[in-house]
């Protein structure tokens, strides 16, 4: 996949121009099991690379979401409020937040799909 970057904490960011769509990887949703709640930041909140911005929860456990990039939240995937299980159906299509990237050079610290797949093996 072009323009998609991965973190060691199993988030991805798909970059389109100056925006990044952030979600959890298919590997992460599989490890977590049925997602029953997604805790998301508000639009206009600032997120920072390497810092927590929310959580995805299964019945048994909460897993922190760590932002792979820094910037301002310009949109959130509100469909996840009522149907969090969309993440299990397609984690890549169902991104969690859309961020206006404040420092695109941060992407260099992330992994390509091939590199990420090796980490997950």
């Amino acid at each position: 996949m072009e323009n998609v970057y991965f973190s060691e904490s199993h988030e991805y960011v798909r970059v389109e121009g100056e925006y990044g769509y952030v979600g959890i990887t298919d590997y992460a949703q599989h490890q977590l099991g049925n997602v029953v709640y997604v805790d998301m930041p508000e639009v206009d909140d600032e997120v920072s690379a390497g810092e927590e911005f929310g959580a995805v929860e299964s019945v048994k456990a909460a897993s922190d979401l760590i932002s792979p990039v820094s910037g301002e939240v310009v949109e959130r995937n509100d469909a996840l409020e009522d149907t969090p299980e969309l993440i299990n159906e397609d984690a890549f299509a169902n991104w969690i937040i859309k961020v206006k990237l404040s420092d695109p050079s941060e992407l260099e610290n992330l992994m390509s799909e091939d590199e990420y797949n090796r980490v997950c093996e």
């Binding site: 099991g33 049925n34 029953v36 709640y37 805790d39 929310g54 959580a55 929860e57 299964s58 019945v59 048994k60 909460a62 409020e81």
Partner: protein, 365 residues
């Protein structure tokens, strides 16, 4: 020290269970999915490996006198075949463990204790048994145990295992000969549904497990749904709602503490606590949003937002779909319908104080 394995460990691996450490054992968290397993128990029948539970026998001329001394419930003159739920307490009223007491014979009792507490409990029991004409035996490693739970449990146990179950009343048991050995069948459980718990040798429990699995009429269920099931019906878990520092009165379990008994360890502390009034108590909380309250999260006053307690267990309840929790709160917060907040991740979530039972039990009395 590595975790112990139950006699069904290999069976769990064969079923591709997700294994986790619990109470010093490697136990199945789930086989398929916690929600499916939970619903199987509410609607049909689920089977749990509960071989990690501890079995301690107390036998001898003063067995009843001794159990009366260490146990909060009243077993005086109990009939053989009856089961009692209650606690063992420290002198200060804090809880050593919660347990079931089975009256096996006039001078013989079986104490079923929590896995994580087996060593602590047995040391405590031995220490207090000095001066009583009793012998105590920790038989935990000789026994396997399975729990068969759900509205179909009776039919399943009778038809597949050929065990005499319909004759058993709730909280009674029977010792019975089966496949050449003596086993214990009791009408008990930890799910809020009708069901049975079977105690036997490792070989017997392995046989029973295989028979049940081969029948296709039961679902193997892990500790994940065991917790969501017991939580919904307000049953406590030692470590959450009860600890060395929490008294049964604070946990709302006063009906299992017979303060009119002449004597038991911890009685004086509880009499005093009752006279002075509780300072804190376990309540239920229902949240307005879907955010999930979990063990250890702070509970705050709805107005001042000062910390007034903490969550002991919480889930998005599978049977009701509501975000609910049990929480230990200051007594002035323990008013039904009172607004209260729980800190979840970075936000304060609004809720109200409720009863600590979120789903009605479905026992066969």
């Amino acid at each position: 020290m590595s975790d112990k394995r139950t006699c069904l460990y290999e069976k769990h691996l064969a079923l591709s269970a997700k294994m986790v450490p619990f109470g010093g054992f490697e136990m199945p968290l789930q086989y398929s999915d916690i929600t499916d397993e939970h619903n199987a128990v509410r609607q049909a029948c689920g089977v749990f490996d509960v071989s990690h539970m501890g079995e301690v026998f107390v036998e001898g001329r003063e067995a009843e006198k001794f159990v009366q001394y260490i146990f909060t419930n009243n077993i005086e003159g109990a009939e053989i075949g009856k089961i009692y739920y209650g606690m063992m307490l420290h002198d200060n009223g804090g809880t050593v463990d919660d347990l079931l007491v089975y009256k096996m014979a006039d001078e013989k009792f079986l104490l079923v204790v929590n896995a994580a507490n087996i060593d602590k409990d047995y040391a405590w029991i031995e220490q207090h048994a000095k001066g009583f004409d009793v012998t105590t035996v920790n038989a935990s490693e000789s026994y396997g145990q399975i729990a068969i739970q759900g509205p179909n449990a009776e039919v399943v146990c009778e038809r597949i295992l050929q065990l005499p179950c319909s004759e058993l009343a709730f909280y009674t048991f029977k010792e019975t000969e089966h496949h050449g050995e003596t086993i214990i069948v009791s009408r008990t459980g930890y799910t809020g549904e009708d069901g049975f718990e079977i105690y036997g040798s490792h070989a017997y429990i392995q046989w029973a497990w295989d028979e049940l699995m081969e029948s296709g009429e039961v679902k193997p269920c892990g500790l994940g749904c065991r917790d969501t099931l017991r939580f919904e019906v307000g049953l406590p878990l030692y470590g959450d709602e009860l600890t060395d520092d929490i008294t049964p009165l604070e946990a709302g379990l006063g009906m299992f503490v017979k303060l009119d008994k002449p004597q038991f360890i911890g009685k004086e502390a509880l009499v005093q606590q009752k006279a002075e009034g509780l300072k804190r108590k376990v309540v239920g909380i229902e949240l307005n949003a879907r955010a999930i309250p979990r063990h250890g999260y702070e509970v705050v006053d709805a107005e001042s937002e000062e910390v007034v307690g903490e969550v002991t267990t919480g889930y998005c309840s599978i049977s009701t779909g509501k975000s609910v929790c049990m929480a230990m709160v200051n007594i002035d917060q323990a008013v039904l319908g009172k607004p209260i907040k729980v800190k979840i991740h970075r936000k304060l979530q609004e809720g109200v104080v409720t009863k600590k039972r979120f789903y009605e039990k479905n026992y066969k009395k």
